[in-house]
């Protein structure tokens, strides 16, 4: 992925996010929740599917579905909700995939998640195919024929599958039984796929906030009642309908496949699948451009076990030390580390983090930066926040500094800035559900306010510290937070600024173990 493409992608995301945030607010921005919305839809499909499977009859597929559709009390909206949930699952999963791709989160340690995600969407589409065939209306027959044409190219069956729908003989109950079996089996496989999808995450977030979940289910239910999903006339192999209901979300491929020779359709489909599966390889950064994984300085590591707890990717474990100190030592698995830097913010003695981004590196850089000596309130922003939004806050007097992720920020940097003369320090992160480090805002809040390691020291005046969320489309909220924060700052004459260059790192952070040989 070229830098130009990357920058364009980020701009595009900010535009989309801004639009969604204006409508729903950043807390409810569905674009940030796409992955979890897909999971909610799977749950809705499970619940509605359980009802539908009990009223479905393989001996009378069209009749049983028609009876369900005609039942105004439960059947009609249950069936429609099932349909719309499957549509929204596909839409949400694709939105999630596009976001991950544009945020360059589709390769390296995230390869497994990408590959399993592609397979999940593919299985979801096949599952939708079996679902429409179950209904056995004119569209179900059309789908069955399209699928039959495709399967006839594959030398698997002794008789062409498509002949089964020619009308020579009635379609057997065995076909509908196998189809129903697949329709139940595939979601179970999707459950396994979902487990694989999040298997590399610590504390995977599978559901959106409760209000969003219920609001979404309510809206879909209302639409399912008001606009029941269409059901065509019962499948008749001797009918030539002028039109059939077509689901453009999950079955958009049908009109295309119908017009292409089956071999070409297979070729195009397999090429598309191969391209999707090759994304991690195609978008991989060159080695020199890759952010290096975190590393641990065993001399500084006290074995406190905080960084493994904070790592959102389960990339850190505690292992036995090689020396005679009685503690364990952290060990980073570079295959799992995405270089989010959250471990750097978790380490009181600042002994872990990506090269150049450990707490010590952050403090060192701040001391060396002569222009950093602050006199105005400082706003530390995540790199991923929109540049235009940062400019708006800069225009309101904020001295802007950036970090790759607010979870990477060591609390000692906040202390150092205040001790050096900043009247206040506010940290602006991304919306928590859109954090590239997954848990940056969460751990930042805990470290600043809840005494989570590495906590902001008690000696720091909390009135001079604040946090906000800087989201595209919701800059006004951050501006209001900033103005409130600045207005509430104590008078600067209470401060006793110390020259940055004279502030020793050990004066800020926890001292390393007495027996450790440290080069500051």
């Amino acid at each position: 992925m070229t830098p130009r493409f990357s920058a364009s992608a980020r701009r595009l995301l900010h535009v989309l996010d801004a639009g969604a945030a204006r409508l729903f607010g950043w807390r409810g921005n569905p674009l940030h929740q796409a992955g979890t919305l897909a999971v909610v839809m799977l749950l809705v499909l499970l619940v509605t599917g359980l009802y539908l499977v009990f009223v479905y009859r393989v001996g009378d597929p069209a009749g049983s579905v028609a009876r369900v559709a005609a039942d105004p009390w439960i059947g009609s909206w249950m069936r429609s909700l099932h349909r719309y949930a499957s549509d929204l699952f596909v839409v949400a999963a694709l939105a999630h995939a596009v976001r991950m791709f544009l945020q360059r989160r589709s390769w390296g340690p995230r390869t497994l998640a990408w590959l399993s995600g592609v397979v999940l969407v593919g299985v979801g589409l096949v599952c939708a195919w079996t679902g429409f065939v179950m209904a056995w209306d004119s569209f179900g027959l059309r789908l069955a024929r399209a699928g039959g044409r495709l399967l006839d190219v594959v030398p698997l069956f002794s008789e062409p599958v498509s002949r089964g729908f020619a009308g020579d003989a009635p379609v057997t109950s065995a076909f509908f039984f196998v189809n129903l079996f697949l329709h139940i089996l595939l979601p179970l496989a999707m459950g396994v796929g979902l487990w694989l999808h999040v298997s590399r995450l610590a504390r995977p977030v599978l559901l959106p906030p409760r209000q969003i979940t219920w609001a979404l289910v309510a809206v879909l239910t209302v639409v399912a009642i008001a606009l029941p999903a269409p059901l065509g006339p019962a499948a008749d192999p001797f009918a030539l309908p002028a039109s059939t209901p077509l689901n453009l979300v999950t079955s958009w491929w049908v009109p295309v496949v119908e017009r292409l020779p089956a071999g070409v359709a297979w070729g195009a489909g397999l090429l598309g699948l191969a391209l999707m599966l090759a994304v991690p390889r195609l978008t991989r950064q060159p080695r020199e451009a890759m952010a290096a994984p975190s590393w641990v300085d065993p001399q500084l590591c006290t074995g406190c076990n905080q960084c493994p707890q904070d790592c959102p990717w389960d990339a850190i474990t505690m292992v036995a030390r090689g020396d005679d100190r009685p503690t364990l030592v952290a060990l980073v698995d570079p295959e799992r580390c995405v270089s989010c830097g959250i471990c750097a913010g978790s380490c009181a003695p600042m002994g872990v983090g990506p090269p150049g981004r450990t707490g010590r590196d952050q403090l060192g850089r701040l001391r060396e930066d002569a222009t950093a000596a602050p006199t105005a309130p400082v706003l530390i922003c995540c790199d991923q926040t929109p540049a235009a939004a940062r400019a708006v806050l800069a225009a309101r007097g904020a001295a802007i500094r950036t970090v790759p992720c607010v979870g990477n920020l060591h609390s000692s940097v906040v202390e150092l800035l205040i001790r050096a003369g900043a009247t206040g320090v506010m940290v602006a992160g991304c919306p928590p559900r859109d954090c590239v480090g997954r848990e940056g805002p969460k751990w930042l809040h805990a470290r600043l306010y809840l005494d989570r390691e590495a906590e902001l020291q008690a000696r720091v005046d909390r009135r001079r510290v604040g946090t906000t969320t800087l989201a595209a489309g919701a800059v006004g909220e951050a501006v209001a937070d900033w103005e409130r924060f600045v207005a509430g700052l104590p008078a600067p004459d209470e401060l006793r600024p110390e020259p940055l260059a004279q502030l020793a790192v050990e004066a800020i952070c926890d001292p390393p173990p007495a027996d450790a040989a440290v080069t500051p």
């Binding site: 020579d168 979404l216 809206v219 639409v223 399912a224």
Partner: protein, 213 residues
């Protein structure tokens, strides 16, 4: 969350859900209203064109007892030409062969051809393409003239020659005849499909025009 934003968010979510519902079931045109179709649907075993001979006593003696076929046939599987003429116009002219790499599996044909609704004169012919030459004939139905004296079947092999002949006859009856023809008047309603298939019971081409439900 202000009431205005909540209202706006609800409206936006509702609009998105309605759009999703509409995309979920748009009416997609498939055929023109006045159109009908002729479906050619054949599934039958193609004929084997074989040359049969009676092996000599020496040949049979060289084989294990259970492999001593009284008639040995070698040959190939026939292919067919299907021509469909509607109102004097050629609608389809298809060469059909058996399935499988050796073309010895059942012949499968499934094609839909649009035709205008109404009454039509329909002429369908199915002809074997290969002509049986003097040395080639269809499977023999007659039992071998005489079984060599050294291989008189006894015990469990008693009557083998007759069983072989029965089996060949059964296979022959299951294959497509060398020539079939259908000449009829077909009346088909708009939006309906007429099915032309091979009826294995009567060994003839048949046309079905199911009435609209």
């Amino acid at each position: 969350v202000t009431p205005g934003r909540a209202l706006g968010a609800t409206a936006a979510a509702g609009a998105a859900a309605v759009a999703l519902a509409l995309l979920s079931g748009i009416a997609w045109p498939v055929t023109r209203a006045e159109e009908a179709a002729l479906r050619l649907s054949l599934r039958a075993r193609p004929e084997r064109l074989e040359t049969c001979r009676t092996p000599s006593a020496e040949e049979l003696a060289a084989l294990a007892e259970h492999m001593r076929q009284r008639t040995v046939c070698e040959g190939f599987t026939a292919s067919y030409r299907l021509r469909v003429v509607v109102d004097g116009h050629l609608l389809a002219d298809i060469v059909a062969q058996g399935g499988g790499l050796r073309r010895d599996r059942p012949l499968q044909l499934l094609q839909d051809h649009p035709i205008p609704a109404g009454s039509h004169r329909l002429q369908v012919t199915l002809d074997r393409r290969e002509v049986a030459d003097a040395g080639t004939a269809g499977p023999s139905t007659a039992p071998p003239a005489s079984a060599p004296a050294v291989t008189v079947d006894t015990g469990r092999y008693a009557g083998r020659a007759g069983r072989e002949a029965d089996e060949r006859d059964r296979r022959r009856r299951a294959t497509l005849p060398a020539a079939l023809a259908l000449d009829t008047t077909l009346t088909i309603a708009p939006g309906r499909v007429a099915l032309i298939s091979f009826d294995s019971e009567t060994r003839s081409l048949a046309v079905r025009t199911p009435a609209a439900p």
